[in-house]
């Protein structure tokens, strides 16, 4: 046995990344709802970051723009891509793929989802255009979630076979902003 093979044999199996784990998650048939009565159907917007589906309030999503040049900010975390100029308003770009440890393929088409407006606006690169999500069917259990997002997720939903995470948008980005300030 070669030294390399011995090392491989002795090494622990690496953990799946949260994104990979999430992509393997399939809600069981009998756990698709929490059983607390008739589901209240609400329409929200869903967008994908790698394999992770996130939903936000319909009124929070301001607009979608084509992938525009991002100007980097020195000495900031890799997930803060920089700033874009949105009609004279400088908007920070949070690369959630980088934050969640998901590799980006250079060839992939991206859009910028602009969330909130004015001084509160932020941009999130997304693959594919957001879609309307009917979040009436709540999952009884949460799937594996990337660590930075975990404290901010309220619930998960299943819509047309895909899992979508409902999260505290403001709390999540406030926490990220706090990391930058530190």
């Amino acid at each position: 046995m070669t030294e390399t093979a011995k090392a491989a044999e002795g090494a622990e199996q690496p953990w799946l990344s949260p994104a990979a784990a999430l992509s393997r998650y399939t809600p069981a048939e009998d756990t698709s709802t929490d059983g607390s009565g008739p589901a209240i159907r609400r329409v929200r917007y869903g967008f994908r970051v790698g394999d992770i589906g996130l939903v936000i309030d319909r009124h929070k999503a301001s607009e979608i723009v084509d992938d525009v040049p991002v100007r980097a900010i020195p000495n900031t975390p890799v997930w803060l891509s920089g700033l874009i100029n949105l009609r004279g308003n400088l908007v920070p770009v949070f690369d959630l793929k980088a934050l969640f440890g998901i590799a980006r393929e250079q060839s992939e088409k991206r859009w910028m989802l602009i969330v909130d407006k004015g001084d509160k606006a932020i941009a999130v690169p997304v693959e594919g255009l957001p879609r309307v999500i009917d979040i009436g069917q709540r999952s009884a259990q949460l799937p594996p979630i990337p660590e930075p997002l975990r404290p901010h997720v309220h619930a998960s939903y299943v819509d047309r076979g895909d899992v979508w995470l409902d999260f505290d948008f403001e709390g999540f980005f406030k926490a990220l902003g706090g990391q930058i300030a530190d």
């Binding site: 009124h59 301001s62 607009e63 979608i64 009609r87 407006k117 255009l129 957001p130 879609r131």
Partner: protein, 120 residues
């Protein structure tokens, strides 16, 4: 559907007047507003047959205005046509997701605007 009453919302006076001239010449009664909040109020009180809505406006932009109109049972059925300088594929998809019937990119011809009256 015969279009008699039209609501225009645009913060730019030149664009507003231009649209007003085109639609008046087409025989419509035109109501003009300069911001999204005013447009929502007028839509409820005047019950126009169609709304021409700019997107880029301060305070309440056209997308948000359209969402508010769609959420109100009194205005949810009024067709909204976005009239805007935004004309990327993403803009069209997003406009549709907000409940817009169509999007007319600026600069537009008189015919493109009048065509919207026939579609409604």
């Amino acid at each position: 559907m015969a279009i008699n009453k039209v609501l225009i919302c645009d913060d730019a006076a030149v664009d507003r007047t231009n649209l007003e001239n085109i639609l008046s010449a087409a025989g419509c009664t035109v109501i003009t507003t300069t911001n999204g909040k005013e447009a929502c109020e007028k839509a409820k009180s005047e019950k126009p047959d169609i709304i021409f809505l700019d997107i880029i406006m301060p305070e309440m932009d056209g997308y948000e205005t359209c969402r508010v109109l769609r959420d109100d049972p009194e205005t949810s059925q009024i067709p909204v046509v976005f009239v805007t300088s935004k004309n990327q594929k993403a803009d069209r998809v997003w406009a549709q997701m907000q409940g817009g019937a169509d999007l007319v990119p600026k600069p537009y011809s008189d015919e493109e605007i009048v065509e919207q009256l026939k579609k409604a």
